[in-house]
Symmetry: C2
Subunit: 368 residues, 2 copies
């Protein structure tokens, strides 16, 4: 199927909120040795825990390379509600290389296939080639038989946006206005793409995301909607934490924003876990301090906001941290109608993201 040449908004499509009902969640299977230590075996165990948690609530489709198909099939064979298929990629970040699904009010579903440049291309991107990732959205659309909109010339990752499904989108200037994404486009032109392809009206620009997030500050690791007119923001009161000013800048923007329907936003806060640092393989896999290029420890961008909302549940990363229990309580209060399931997130964090980054929900279209 050829991509459509019209615009989703003009065709009646919009991106629903993550809490709208899902048909399934899409994921990819880890294997890349420069992203995942020890032959990706610990990562595969961590992914299995995430897959298993999501599959309690909705079907999960897991794409693997040809060479990992049998291994993934065997590892996941005991899970119900899980489909393993061949769908290769350059790594595992289905949120970012996969499609963004949009729906209309007539039960229609379509896929938006953004240009992808591995979080910055040759200017800070995270791997040297990304042509297999670039085909993932198209493959998913063809598997589902959904129409596909492509955006040649416009780079976006799914983790750079969050929507309320009622016309409002949150993103960060740190990522979307970075010179390594769409340097040829003005902020206004970028907003035009978001409006045309996601059916949104109001775009809220947080200045930055989490400190040292290698995605250049994806919003999905920092701030998300929990329902219309309510957002959840990472927070620290530790002035020595480089996130201290980031949190306050975001709060200032959110406090001065209205959503697409003219509502003020209620801002809930969730603590950031204690600083965590990248691991040295030579240290046997325990989390430890390793120096970055400047001799400083490499801070990892751990965040409880990197959860996925599924049908009836929330799947959130835990970090074996005193804040884990606090985060659980906050999520239980914010989502009283959902079951909160915490899954170990440390290994996935080492690879550069967390549960929201490795998943992409497929909304179930509703008829009005």
């Amino acid at each position: 199927m050829k991509p459509l040449t019209t615009l989703p908004r003009a065709d009646g499509f919009y991106m629903p909120a993550e809490w709208a009902p899902h048909t399934r969640t899409w994921m990819l299977w880890p294997e890349r040795p420069d992203s995942w230590r020890e032959g990706a075996v610990p990562a595969q165990t961590a992914f299995k825990a995430v897959i298993s948690a999501i599959a309690r609530f909705e079907p999960v489709t897991v794409g693997t390379s040809s060479s990992q198909f049998l291994r993934a099939s065997e590892q996941l064979a005991d899970l119900l509600n899980v489909q393993v298929i061949e769908l290769s990629s350059d790594d595992v970040w289905m949120r970012d290389c996969g499609p963004t699904f949009v729906v209309d009010h007539q039960g229609g579903l379509a896929a938006v296939d953004w240009d992808f440049n591995a979080w910055g291309g040759q200017d800070g991107g995270l791997y040297p080639t990304w042509d297999i990732d670039s085909q993932v959205a198209r493959k998913v659309a063809q598997l589902e038989g959904t129409p596909r909109y492509a955006t040649p010339g416009f780079v976006l990752e799914g983790g750079a946006i969050h929507v309320d499904g009622e016309g409002t989108l949150i993103t960060t200037a740190e990522c979307l206005l970075h010179r390594n994404r769409n340097p040829q486009l003005s902020q206004s032109a970028i907003e035009g793409y978001l409006r045309d392809y996601l059916g949104v009206d109001t775009i809220i620009w947080l200045p930055e995301g989490m400190y040292n997030d290698e995605t250049d500050g994806h919003v999905d690791n920092f701030c998300c909607f929990v329902r219309p007119a309510e957002v959840l923001l990472c927070w620290t009161d530790d002035e020595s934490d480089p996130n201290y000013t980031r949190c306050r800048s975001a709060l200032a923007v959110l406090g001065n924003s209205q959503d697409a329907r003219g509502r003020r936003l209620a801002v809930h806060k969730i603590p950031i876990p204690a600083p965590r640092y990248a691991v040295l393989e030579s240290e046997g896999g325990a989390l430890g301090q390793v120096p970055d290029d400047n001799g400083r420890p490499e801070r990892l961008a751990a965040s409880y906001v990197n959860f996925l909302i599924v049908n009836g549940g929330i799947v959130v990363p835990g970090f074996v941290d005193p804040m884990d229990a606090v985060a659980m309580e906050i999520l239980k209060e914010l989502f009283p109608e959902r079951e909160i399931v915490m899954v170990p997130g440390g290994e996935i964090l080492l690879g550069g993201g967390n549960i929201h980054c490795i998943t992409q929900q497929q909304p179930k279209p509703q008829r009005a």
Copy 2:
């Protein structure tokens, strides 16, 4: 999903006839340079013609390797009713490496995943490794979400059998009793597998298939059911053709056989096209004579029986041969309710098979 540990027959499953309604046809995309000349470009053109012909009657799903996904998607983008997905294989023979679908009378569908050894393993097999082919049936089953029966220790290719859907199966001793398939099993034990996995009662053993068929005489290149109690058999009256005695031996068996319901078989004949020989790439791609290991020209096993029955149609290979028109007339008489579509088969024949070999129908389960 784990394979089932029960037997299809005991679970109420049987293999329907090819003329029963299909949900879709599965195919694979050619690329292997030692099977297909000139970068497989002529083969891809030939496959597109087959895909296009089938897609007029029913949906076609085409599996490709990761590296060919974009090329196949672009080549086939103008075809309606065609889905291109990533599903890698060692070559293109979906009939043989793919699943055999079975149905029950309650609308159920299941896949039989036969052991596969590339038509003979290290004893005459057609490529040195076949581990990717061996995963194709499992991948198809997982894509469709169908239960899967595996047959560890029992080798079979889908092209080695034809059924009438009413309890009768035709095969050839040349293939199924070959020492390179199941040397540890007696004919009786092999019949047991066929009965248990395909729900058949009566097995008709033709002595041989077509001369020089590198599958060791697959029945699907030689003889098939056209409806219950009626078969179509390749035929030549040329005593110098090595198929002369093969045709007569088959006719003798068929003439003495009853089907599972006790009916005698009506045997229709269809001519074999004029002898065709393998091509030398140095000869520019035109079909020509090349010597085999003994200095004799390598005869190709061209056959009009290698057609596929689809919903409302027949897709049959043509060979730019005077017999093409004769074959068309015979098929029109045999299938008056179906449209007969002839597609160039020469390039596919060069690769070692034809339209039936590169396709696998997925029957649409019916409720009794």
